[in-house]
């Protein structure tokens, strides 16, 4: 079983793609770092008692005037940069993954049903998708955030920020899934194995989820990867614009926004350390997405 898996075409292609292997390792390392941040990081950037202003603005260890306790230096508050990016990545990944999963469930559900039933239901879903497309991802996310500000009292808005942000990102991504699922379902629906199931009188839900869904997983998996990258970028962008997460619970985007203030003053690491970290994370996810696309659609190579 394990040998067969090791020898399968996908794994074989993976073993022979250095870029994919490196990307996979980087992604796993970052994921691990984010997951175990509370145990790995020497200080908790959310807890004011674990750092002190005295350690503020220390450069990384290879620069002059650094402190060996802080591998990548500290920010103006004296927060350890390593701890900050680990916790930041934790938040960014959490929001990105949740948003991507919500978008997947919503989009695939609607897309499957639209492709399966066709007709009026399909037309309605696709028109909603049209409207959504006219309002691109970042706009949708900004808008939902704006609405939440208008509807929720300021205090609860702060508390619910992560939820609002996640939902905003999820809502701006579902169309991708819906369109792909619908297009693939249209193709599968006319294949004979689906017709056979329909003739037998199987329940539509069973036909959709038991028969069709496993056959359209390939392209969906690619979109899940690519949209995870999009979601992380979107969260960073929103936080950068100052309407994402606040400075006391910094995601990678918030860290970059804070770092921007030091762009001109010489404390480059406060900006570039989280930036490089974010780019490394997204690049590795995108490389994996590209690799999956090649595996599922080998003709494009």
């Amino acid at each position: 079983m394990l040998a067969r898996f090791w020898d399968s075409d996908a794994v074989w292609a993976f073993r022979h793609s250095p870029a994919a292997i490196v990307a996979f390792i980087v992604a796993v390392l970052i994921l691990g770092g984010a997951l175990f941040a509370p145990w790995l990081a020497q200080s908790n950037p959310y807890d004011l008692t674990t750092f002190s202003l005295i350690d503020g603005l220390l450069p990384p260890v290879w620069e002059e005037g650094s402190d060996r306790r802080f591998l990548l230096g500290t920010d103006d508050q004296g927060r350890d940069m390593v701890s900050a990016i680990l916790f930041g990545a934790r938040l960014s990944l959490l929001i990105g993954l949740m948003a991507m999963l919500i978008a997947t469930v919503l989009g695939v559900g609607l897309g499957l049903a639209a492709g399966y039933y066709g007709g009026r239901f399909d037309a309605i879903v696709m028109r909603i998708a049209d409207v959504q497309l006219a309002l691109p991802a970042i706009l949708t996310a900004l808008l939902i955030d704006g609405i939440a500000r208008g509807l929720l009292p300021p205090s609860s808005h702060e508390n619910l920020r992560i939820v609002v942000l996640t939902l905003a990102i999820a809502l701006s991504l579902w169309v991708n899934f819906a369109r792909t699922a619908r297009a693939s379902t249209f193709v599968e629906r006319n294949k004979e194995y689906v017709q056979a199931a329909m003739i037998m009188g199987q329940h539509p839900l069973r036909v959709m989820f038991w028969h069709i869904l496993p056959n359209i997983l390939g392209p969906l998996l690619v979109i899940m990867t690519v949209d995870l990258a999009s979601a992380i970028l979107l969260e960073a962008t929103l936080s950068f614009l100052g309407i994402g997460l606040p400075a006391d619970s910094p995601s990678l985007g918030t860290l970059i926004r804070i770092g921007m203030q030091f762009l001109l003053s010489g404390e480059w690491w406060i900006l570039w350390v989280p930036t490089l970290f974010l780019v490394a994370l997204v690049v590795s996810i995108n490389i994996l997405g590209d690799f999956l696309r090649d595996v599922f659609n080998p003709r494009l190579r």
Binding site: A19, R127, I128, D130, V131, L133, A134, L135, P136, A137, I138, L139, L142, L143, D145, G146, I147, R149, G150, L151, A229, L233, A236, T237, F240, L241, G242, I243, G253, I256, M260, L263, L264, L271, T275, L278, V279, V282, V283, I285, N286, I287, D290, R299, L300, R301
Partner: protein
């Protein structure tokens, strides 16, 4: 063909109506318009009178119809924050955003399409692999980071180009343009590049994928077997067929360009609609938010209608009836 155009028009009207409904719901249900317009000292009776005057007690449909009617006549209401007419505020900002978006789109097309064609024709070359890797990194860097990097390099380190504002502008018939002064162009280069780079990578990857698909098609194989010169084969046969799906998606992307200009405008303090929108979100200035939505959707719909026309020009299957 007429039916095709009519159908698309009808779909566009539907999208516009839906967005208008969204904008109206925002206005009507997010916060109370009356308390936004009045001060603390306004009496309850005065508020009620204002409510009645504004027609806020009418049925929802009637209110929405009036809202849409007003919009069609160019009456977009007043900003909660500045008390100015929203129409003026937006109109002031439109030229900046459109110039930025158009220049960015042109950059992305004139670099993206040739690069896509090249990488499709030589899928295994070293240059192709380099381009592919570069674009992969390109789509992975957030727009605002690209902006920061450009500012850092050309603005701060080299000091060649301005890092904020529009530079010298010229007013032509109510349209403030930065395209007619050197200063204006200098200010435009960095924001347009920032916005263009992301679109460029998308365009290139799309052209490449579609072109490779077309190159495998039977009619290309048949044309190859007839010894049609490669240049003609690639640029007349393959590229034309590639462009059909590509222009559709580029039309869809134009919305993305406008939306991402929010980020670019924020990084470069570019006085466009995006910056206005960001400010209006910060101050929960609902009328401006709503109108911005409608304007964005309008541009999106307009561009996609133009794309449909282009479609008809390229694809004879839409122009000429099938023989029985």
């Amino acid at each position: 063909m007429v039916y095709f155009i009519l159908k698309r028009l009808l779909q566009s009207v539907f999208v516009m109506l839906a967005v208008a409904l969204l904008a109206f719901s925002l206005f009507r249900f997010v916060g109370d318009p009356v308390s936004q317009m009045t001060g603390v000292e306004t009496s309850v009776e005065d508020r009620e009178r204002l409510r009645e005057e504004l027609g806020l007690n009418d049925p929802f449909i009637a209110q929405f119809a009036r809202f849409t009617g007003d919009m069609l006549q160019g009456d977009f209401g007043f900003s909660y924050r500045t008390r100015q007419p929203v129409a003026e505020m937006i109109a002031d900002r439109i030229p900046a955003t459109l110039e930025l978006g158009t220049v960015a789109l042109i950059i992305s097309l004139i670099v993206g399409i040739p690069a896509g064609v090249y990488t499709a024709l030589r899928p295994r070359g070293f240059i192709t692999q380099t381009i592919l890797m570069t674009t992969l990194v390109g789509v992975s860097i957030p727009t605002f980071v690209i902006g920061i990097m450009l500012i850092f390099l050309f603005g701060v380190q080299l000091g060649w180009l301005p890092t904020f504002g529009r530079g010298g502008t010229v007013e032509i018939g109510g349209w403030t343009s930065s395209l007619f002064t050197i200063d204006g162009w200098r200010a435009l280069i960095l924001p347009a590049l920032t916005l263009g780079v992301y679109q460029l990578t998308l365009t290139m990857r799309l052209v490449r994928a579609e072109m490779m698909e077309v190159l495998r098609s039977d009619y290309i194989r048949f044309a190859t077997a007839r010894g049609i010169p490669y240049r003609r084969l690639h640029f007349r046969h393959a590229l034309a067929n590639t462009m059909i799906p590509v222009i559709t998606i580029i039309g869809l992307q134009f919305g993305g360009v406008i939306a991402f200009s929010i980020v670019t405008e924020s990084v470069f303090q570019w006085p466009g609609m995006g910056l206005l929108f960001l400010e209006s979100i910060r101050f929960v200035d609902i009328p401006v938010m709503g109108v911005y939505l409608v304007v964005i959707a309008f541009f999106f719909v307009l561009v996609n209608l133009l794309v449909d026309m282009l479609y008809i020009a390229i694809d004879p299957r839409l122009r000429v009836k099938e023989a029985a």
